[in-house]
């Protein structure tokens, strides 16, 4: 997959971000000085000059260990340039934009799209390699291939082995079937166990869970989500969930349904402070939650 396809995927994502959050008035992404994708509101010249200005800052940023993000707050709006590995995402938002929400959206979705695009790219490259290897084999004359392999086998044999081999064993008619037998794929073991579907991964926003009767090792998720899990794994037990924060930290804990009906269907996971501390996160941040199927 070329940068063009990645650019197209990123552009679509950025456009969607603006649809979801109209306070984002413009955004573009660049890598090593090249603009990979930009929305329709941002013109090329503006983006290019911003890139130059950003790199001028990074030239002198060794004193703070390099730049992860730059947030500029102006009287009429905000600009944020966030570094996501080699990519730099610039987001322009209005004055009233909720910075936390915008950052959560952009810093979650864009890396996911980049990662997906890269994974697809590596898969397609691997497929192309396999296909080109197959093509190369097909173009060789079968007879030539057989002779070549026979020759190689004879060469690989030690001299004393060659001495002990009866002349008929060196015959092609003997060698080829033997070789074919060796190259035959081993019998595939059939697993009779039913296939368990991959656990669904949910992205939920963290909210504080407080109260006297709150277990410090239990999170609360939507009743509807629990019902879906039970439906999916009707004959399996789900006692715990695995929670992964954006910083890569994970934990396993028990879960219960959300008690308050007003909190249901909001896409949240209520979490005691202890678990938030262990994941190094705070309320308002996004985490992924998946059931642990036993």
């Amino acid at each position: 997959m070329s940068d063009e396809v990645l650019g197209f995927a990123l552009k679509s994502t950025m456009q969607e971000l603006q649809n979801v959050c109209p306070d984002i008035t413009g955004n573009f992404i660049f890598k090593e000085g090249n603009i990979l994708a930009k929305d329709d509101n941002t013109n090329e010249e503006t983006a290019s000059q911003t890139v130059d200005a950003f790199y001028k800052i990074t030239e002198h940023a060794s004193i703070i260990g390099g730049i992860d993000a730059v947030s500029i707050e102006g009287v009429k709006g905000k600009v944020n340039i966030a570094s996501l590995k080699d990519f730099h995402l610039t987001t322009v938002s209005s004055k009233k934009a909720d910075e936390k929400y915008v950052n959560t959206l952009t810093r979650v979705l864009i890396p996911i799209v980049i990662k997906l695009a890269q994974e697809i790219q590596s898969c397609s490259t691997a497929n192309e390699t396999i296909r080109s290897d197959d093509d190369a084999i097909e173009t060789i004359e079968p007879e030539l291939l057989e002779n070549e392999i026979t020759k190689e086998i004879v060469e690989e044999l030690e001299p004393e082995d060659t001495e002990n081999i009866q002349p008929e064993e060196l015959n092609e008619e003997y060698m080829i079937p033997k070789l074919q037998k060796e190259n035959e794929p081993a019998e595939v073991e059939v697993d009779n166990e039913p296939l368990i579907p991959e656990p669904p991964v949910l992205q939920l926003m963290v909210e504080n869970l407080t109260g006297f009767r709150v277990g410090s090792d239990t999170v609360r998720v939507d009743q509807e989500v629990i019902a879906q899990w039970n439906e999916l794994y009707s004959d399996k037990k789900i006692n715990e969930v695995e929670i992964e924060a954006l910083n890569g930290k994970t934990t396993q804990c028990k879960f219960k349904k959300i008690k308050k009906s007003k909190d249901e269907g909001k896409g949240i996971v209520k979490m005691p402070e202890k678990i938030q501390v262990s994941l190094e996160i705070a309320a308002g941040e996004l985490v992924t939650v998946k059931p642990i199927v036993e």
Binding site: G26, T46, Q49, T50, A53, F54, K56, I57, E59, H60, A61, S62, I63, I64, G65, G66, I67, D68, A69, V70, S71, I72, E73, G74, V75, K76, G77, K78, V79, V92
Partner: protein, 135 residues
């Protein structure tokens, strides 16, 4: 007969532009106020140091004075480049700039000609500091 003498005094008129004088005094007052705020901030946990300068004066307080030039060039570049970005996107006057570094953070501002750079460790309370220093 007594001789008449006349004594002539030449005087040079001193023109005082009250408006300019008051502006200059206000600027100095602003610089002094900001400097005292920064001196308090400098004592806070996680604050590495600060630089404040205007056309006439500068105050610097850094834990690593040997890095003064690097900090000064960095904060100056940040203010210049971000002003440029702000103009490109028509953001109006820049209120504040937060730089999240891999090692430390920096908070830069230009308050009425007083250019400020505050350097912070990662765990420092940047929003609290921003509130303290903002007019």
């Amino acid at each position: 007969m007594a001789r008449k003498t006349s004594k002539q005094e030449t005087t040079t008129a001193l023109i005082v532009n009250e408006k300019e004088l008051s502006v200059s005094l206000e600027e100095n007052q602003m610089f002094t106020n900001l400097s005292s705020k920064l001196a308090e901030i400098g004592k806070m946990k996680g604050v590495i140091g600060y630089i404040i300068r205007n056309e006439n004066s500068a105050t610097i307080d850094l834990k690593k004075p040997e890095k003064l030039v690097e900090y000064a060039i960095f904060s100056s570049q940040v203010l210049d480049s971000t002003r440029q970005i702000s103009n490109l996107f028509e953001l109006g006057d820049v209120k504040s700039i937060l730089l999240e570094g891999k090692k430390d953070n920096a908070l830069c501002m230009n308050i009425e000609g007083n250019k400020i750079g505050i350097f912070l460790e990662k765990d420092a309370d940047k929003s609290g500091i921003l509130k303290k220093v903002s007019p």
